[in-house]
Symmetry: C2
Subunit: 181 residues, 2 copies
DNA sequence: AGCTTCATGTAAAAAGTTACATGATTGC
DNA sequence: GCAATCATGTAACTTTTTACATGAAGCT
């Protein structure tokens, strides 16, 4: 009975009312580095929360674009959220990192192939680190919330750390290669 | 159709045959920082894989301890694993970090309470970083596989980075506090 | 007397993913 | 002409989690 997704959504709705589509976009932009959610999940969770009166919705008819449904957090939703925030936390993150799972098995491939694999990892994470940095620089403003300030810094540090680790890993493997030949 | 858990298990079985119980323990010790799995999942996946002849099992009767079932990887399992290793990777890790989700909402709490919260985060992750370092130092040996070498270093760096970020976050918040008073 | 370790699971519920569906507008 | 963006979902399926169950040995 953790139901963290709903609290993530309620959290986003404390800033301003939004459509499921917009919430999904914000998720992908800001929360992807610590919470993964699929758009179909978001729509379903919003419907459930409306049922439980944690959010309310307003249907907006548009003529040039498809109609939309704007969700707002209710007083009950806000209480529920603050309440949840003060519950004891499980600090252990739950990761599913397919890349690292492959890395953990690299001894099964020839060393040159393994090195190429980690080089791909490195360049991918370097790119992502740069993207996040660029996005954050473009979007930060003085009225950023504390939460966004802290978590976006976290994301940058994590990606840079990931790329740095990949760099170290490549060096390790190249040294093994030398010793072998 | 990714089915990464089964490849994680097959990977562990390339080292030596093991029981579901042992595989679960290894998971918790070595893979928790990049792949989270529950013991009930592991037992079920092993049964499914036996059905598909990717692993075989041997029942061992014990008198002082409960009976156990030792799983070994089959030739088919090994082929399947290598095959999967060479498939294209999704580099985007899927995170579920309840702690960071709470951090992203800290503006909803009084600042002193928020600071206390991140201080808890910091001390927790510092402890974990130390535990991993101690565990790794105690367990590393020259016949460690490349995969374990690389992923255990990753885990240490990640935890230290997490603690370092928490430290930075606390400083940020304390400065905000000063400006406010 | 109660906790941890060893050892393996079932059943049910919750969460998450994938495939599909619709349809107008804007930009390349 | 084709892809992307806006906008919202349903249905089917897979994966994951939670609660429960059993039971002996050894430690505090």
């Amino acid at each position: 009975m953790v139901m963290a997704l709903r609290h993530a959504l309620l959290g986003l709705l404390t800033h301003q009312p939004a459509t499921g589509y917009a919430l999904n976009a914000t998720f992908k932009a800001q929360m992807i580095h610590f919470w993964h959610a699929h758009h179909t999940q978001i729509y379903r969770e919003l419907l459930k929360m409306e049922d439980e009166a944690l959010v309310s919705s307003e249907h907006v008819t548009q003529h040039d674009l498809p109609d939309k449904k704007i969700y707002s957090i209710t007083e009950r939703g806000r209480e529920e959220l603050i309440d949840w925030l003060r519950q004891p936390t499980s600090f252990q993150p739950k990761m599913k990192d397919e890349n690292l799972l492959r890395v953990s098995l690299l001894q099964l491939l020839p060393l040159e192939e393994a090195i190429r694999y980690v080089e791909e990892t490195k360049s991918h994470h370097e790119q992502v680190a740069q993207q996040i940095r660029a996005f954050q620089e473009a979007h930060q403003s003085k009225d950023d919330t504390l939460g966004y300030l802290l978590t976006s810094e976290y994301a940058i540090r994590m990606m840079e750390n990931y790329a740095g680790w990949a760099d170290w890993a490549i060096e390790q493997m190249k040294q093994r290669d030398k010793h072998a030949t």
